[in-house]
């Protein structure tokens, strides 16, 4: 029997993300046995250790939201999970701000761990964002690192926004 379609929510916001405090209440709604959450924060320094004043995430008015929805939906189809909730921030952020929040509920924990891992790898490399760091060094655009690419390669299907999707 095909697995029931999971509850899926994927939201892009320009406002500070308020992660739900009572995660258990959210999980009970789908009768889950496990909830894995991930919070991504803006780091205070660049990869080379320079302090940053702000991180700016630019978006496309439609393609960015669609990319988050597609990645989230594909995670829901790929793993045996009951619910996914993704909230992604854009605009001007400062160190310590929540940039992305992912929650996955499932009957048993491994599916939720795997799905959250998959979602973050894909969001980190494929979601339609353009990021730049700003600080005393000026401004610097960021691209996915070799490590991001290697992590993404672990999940090699349906990568609709991958760099080689259209040639």
């Amino acid at each position: 029997m095909a697995k029931p379609a999971p509850y899926i929510a994927a939201r892009l916001t320009g406002e500070p993300i308020e992660a739900p405090v009572n995660k258990n209440a959210w999980a009970r709604e789908v009768d889950a046995g496990a909830v894995v959450t991930f919070s991504g924060l803006v780091r205070a320094t660049t990869k080379s250790g320079e302090p940053i004043d702000r991180l700016v995430l630019e978006v496309h008015p439609r393609m960015t939201q669609r990319s988050i929805e597609e990645i989230t939906a594909q995670g829901g189809a790929r793993f045996d999970v009951m619910a996914i909730n993704v909230v992604h921030r854009h605009g001007v952020l400062i160190p310590g701000d929540l940039i992305v929040w992912v929650a996955v509920a499932s009957a048993h924990r491994q599916s939720a761990f795997n799905c959250a891992d998959y979602l973050m790898d894909r969001l980190k490399s494929e979601a339609v964002f353009w990021k730049r760091e700003e600080g005393a060094f000026g401004r610097r655009w960021i691209e996915p690192t070799a490590d991001d690419r290697a992590r993404l390669d672990r999940w090699s299907d349906n990568l609709s926004f991958a760099p080689d999707a259209v040639s």
């Binding site: 630019e58 393609m63 490399s125 730049r132």
Partner: protein
């Protein structure tokens, strides 16, 4: 037609501009090369800068009309 730019290429080309698509049958590649020439912006020719027409990623041979929305985007950063 309206052409928009996203990511680093926006620093060089601005957020958007109106391009006079005077020739029928023009492709994304035609527009890209003409814009690069008009604005002296060789960076627009980099292979990493992808195009989208009406919010869909397309290849260089895709045809565009004056009614289309064309986007050139620098490599994605991811979230």
């Amino acid at each position: 037609m309206t052409v928009e730019f996203y990511g680093q290429i926006r620093d060089l080309m601005g957020a958007s501009l109106e391009f006079d698509l005077s020739r029928d049958g023009s492709t994304v590649a035609d527009v890209r090369h003409q814009l690069a020439k008009d604005h002296g912006c060789d960076a627009l020719l980099a292979s990493g800068i992808r195009a989208a027409v009406n919010d869909e990623l397309v290849g260089e041979g895709a045809r565009v009309t004056a009614q289309d929305s064309l986007v050139f985007m620098s490599p994605l950063s991811g979230g």
